[in-house]
């Protein structure tokens, strides 16, 4: 209570006299996580032959993907897109990592690639669903997390702006995963061409509003981290090559690289390509951020969307203080409002019905009036006819005796008796 009497946030800053020891907490966390081990799930997307398997094998210095097997020309190409995953348990300095790489063979290889992104999106969402289901279980002690932490998208080194399939894919997936586009087969482009190409890619990405994963520094980072992040940012999108083979340089050293008749390109030479930067960002500095972003941002967004669409209503009352009087008052008000609404509705309906009946009656009234008028004119006509006849009869007949008048009267009656 006394602490609350402090400043607006209710937190007081206190200085300690000696060493207490809670600063050792991060180390405890570290030890526990190391014991538990980590997992990391990566997805690679790009057309066949662009270098996905080679890059993964190069990144982790392990043959995660086996060599492509030679298939006869008569073999049917993959229809659509397959989503396959490979897992490997690797260890470095006592830290265990369960690495899962999800491959997408067939992407972009068919003649019609309009829906190539769909199986991939479905896979990503199904992983989210699986995690959501696990979270909602009664016993949550063992949750296995196989959500995709990052998607590496391989861009063909054309030198022009992005292709239709690139834009389509990235637009569909950028809000569901951490997207890391890279320029594949970077040895095709000269330094100048690469510079222009990267600028075009970023222009396209910004133009279409595509969100890609970028390392950002905040005020807690030390200057070294800040400058590292800035360097990484300047190279995005990374232009990389991969190689599992060792080649011999003119000076005798063996390096991982590719040998051409005109020279050797080295994988780990920063002047030749951005492999080092990619590895740094992916594994050495931002792996935790990728996992965090997947868990806190992407997954949460997905979860919110999913639950809302399933009909859950956001019950905002839980955020306010629990006060039964206020609640009661609100309920009453809500009820009243509802009643008013119903009343208004009913009156409206009633009005409408009354109007309808009125107009109907009016219509029949008019009809009757018209008929009445019609009959009256007929009557008048007949009366006029009769008068006519009477006059003629009177004119042709001699002075009438009281007896003779009667027949005409009787005649009249006969005509009118028809009424």
């Amino acid at each position: 209570m006394k602490a609350n009497a402090g400043n607006a946030a209710g937190i007081q800053k206190k200085k300690m006299q000696g060493y207490v020891g809670f600063s050792n907490y991060p180390n405890q966390v570290h030890r526990r996580s190391v014991k538990r081990g980590f997992n990391f799930t990566l997805m690679v997307v790009g057309e066949s032959g662009i270098g996905k398997s080679t890059l993964i094998n190069t990144l982790f210095d392990t043959k995660i993907f086996p060599d492509r097997e030679e298939m006869p020309p008569s073999a049917e190409p993959i229809k659509g897109v397959d989503v396959t995953s490979m897992s490997a348990d690797i260890q470095e300095n006592g830290v265990k990592l369960r690495l899962t790489v999800v491959d997408t063979p067939g992407f972009g290889d068919s003649i019609n690639n309009e829906d190539a992104w769909q199986p991939i999106l479905e896979n990503i969402e199904s992983r989210f669903d699986a995690y959501l289901a696990q979270e909602n279980r009664v016993n949550r002690s063992k949750i296995s997390d196989n959500r995709i932490d990052a998607v590496i998208y391989f861009i063909k080194p054309t030198g022009h702006c992005l292709r239709a399939i690139d834009i389509e894919f990235m637009k569909r997936l950028h809000t569901k995963v951490n997207l890391i586009p890279i320029v594949a087969k970077a040895d095709t482009l000269t330094a100048r061409e690469l510079e222009l190409f990267k600028a075009k890619i970023m222009a396209d990405i910004n133009y279409h509003g595509i969100q890609i994963f970028k390392p950002v520094s905040d005020e807690f980072d030390d200057p070294e981290t800040v400058s590292d992040n800035r360097e990484i940012l300047s190279k995005i999108p990374f232009a990389v090559i991969g190689s599992e083979k060792l080649v011999e340089r003119p000076d005798g050293t063996m390096v991982r690289g590719r040998r051409y008749p005109w020279g050797i390109i080295e994988v780990e030479n920063e002047e030749h390509n951005d492999f080092i930067k990619l590895r740094q960002m992916l594994l050495r500095s931002h792996m935790e951020e990728l996992k965090d972003s997947t868990d806190m941002v992407l997954y949460e967004n997905y979860r919110t969307q999913k639950l809302l669409s399933m009909g859950h209503v956001q019950d905002n009352n839980v955020f306010r203080e629990f006060n039964p009087l206020v609640q009661l008052e609100e309920e009453r008000r809500a009820h009243e409002a509802k009643m008013q609404k119903m009343e208004a509705e009913m009156t409206a309906v009633f009005q409408q019905k009354v109007q309808e009946k009125e107009s109907k009656l009016k219509l029949s009234e008019e009809e009757l009036y018209a008929r009445h008028k019609e009959m009256k004119t007929v009557l008048e006509k007949q009366r006029a006819e009769l008068d006519d006849k009477k006059k003629r009869a009177e004119a042709s007949v001699r002075p009438i005796t009281p007896m003779e008048q009667h027949p005409t009267k009787g005649k009249k009656k006969n005509i009118f008796s028809g009424f």
Partner: protein, 337 residues
């Protein structure tokens, strides 16, 4: 053929026909039409500009984010007259921007096939005129450079579909334009794979085997066929390598000289297309592809006339006329879908 001395009385002199033809050729010049088929960014424009050593075509790729992605394949021919040692050539390069660039590429080849057939049709029409021009301006496509994707396992489904149709109407020369992304081993494996697949799908690329060839030609042709698809590198830049100007590309790890045979097949492709097989390309277009087209068109007309005659004979006006060929010569041919 050993000729006796020119002054000898037995010398007839008909061997000067080659010089006579040459003179006529020099006067008239000739047409050469090449169509480039491949996705955006494969290196089509650069390669053509390298082959003819001049900036003939501009790349039609998307340069800014604001440019809209083309929805169909466009056909854009560019004609220029080049001259070399008194010989003039009216060179037409036909670019196909938009080919294979969309998400759904079904039918992206239709405008290309239609264009090629239209040129055959136009030539046929002019040939069939009662009063023909002395020299018909030949717009028929003599060669098609088809650009394959380096790094793919072999032919992609799109490649198979398009090549099957292209090889029926024109001479197709498959090339890998940006082959500097493949090492020598990868290149060899890729070529072998492509050749296997071409055989499997029964796709006949140029040069075609012919019985007329003498041994020399046969040897040359088989060495060319070995190289197919040509793995080339194009460049419009001249860079300085230790003082000598070299047409190539400069990387941080080496310099590519496109004329170096160990670096790329560029020299072979150029020699093949221009120095040894240029007239053959034109001739084969005329004798094989054009004749095929002509035969099928005339056959169609004949059938149509027969139908009409039969209809007239059986009395009365029959209902529907087949919409195919108009009374005039084939402005219509159906592009195969």
């Amino acid at each position: 053929m050993s000729a006796p001395a020119n002054d000898s009385q037995d010398y007839v002199g008909f061997d000067t026909i080659t010089q006579q033809m040459e003179r006529k050729f020099l006067k008239r010049g000739f047409n050469f039409n090449v169509i480039l088929v491949g996705e955006s960014g494969m290196g089509k424009s650069t390669l053509v500009n390298s082959i003819f050593s001049s900036h003939l075509v501009d790349s039609q790729g998307r340069r800014t984010a604001q440019e809209v992605i083309r929805k169909t394949t466009e056909i854009s021919p560019v004609t220029q007259t080049l001259e070399e040692n008194g010989v003039r050539v009216r060179l037409t390069i036909i670019d196909t921007p938009g080919f294979g660039d969309q998400c759904n590429n079904e039918g992206c080849w239709v405008p290309v096939i239609k264009y090629i057939k239209d040129q055959h049709a136009a030539y046929l029409e002019r040939e069939l005129k009662p009063q023909r021009d002395r020299v018909i301006n030949d717009t028929r496509v003599h060669a098609c450079l088809y650009f394959l994707n380096p790094g793919s396992r072999g032919l992609r489904p799109l490649d198979v579909e398009v090549l099957k149709r292209l090889t029926e109407v024109t001479n197709v020369i498959p090339v890998i334009a940006k082959s500097d992304s493949m090492t020598v081993e990868e290149r060899t494996a890729f070529k072998r794979r492509i050749k296997e697949e071409l055989v499997f799908h029964r796709i006949a690329v140029y040069p075609y085997p012919s019985e007329e060839d003498c041994d020399e030609d046969r040897a040359l042709n088989s060495s060319i066929r070995d190289l197919v698809p040509f793995a080339v590198v194009g460049s419009e830049e001249i860079i300085d390598v230790n003082g000598t100007p070299v047409r190539g590309r400069r990387h941080g790890w080496g310099v590519i000289n496109i004329f170096d045979e160990t670096h790329s097949d560029f020299v072979h492709l150029r020699n093949f297309m221009l120095r040894t097989h240029l007239s053959d390309l034109i001739e084969v277009t005329s004798q094989r592809h054009y004749e095929q087209f002509r035969t099928s068109q005339l056959r169609q007309i004949k059938e149509l006339r027969a139908q009409q005659a039969a209809a007239a004979a059986s009395g009365g006006i029959m209902g529907s006329m087949p919409q195919q060929v108009p009374p005039q010569v084939p402005a219509v041919h159906q592009p195969m879908a």
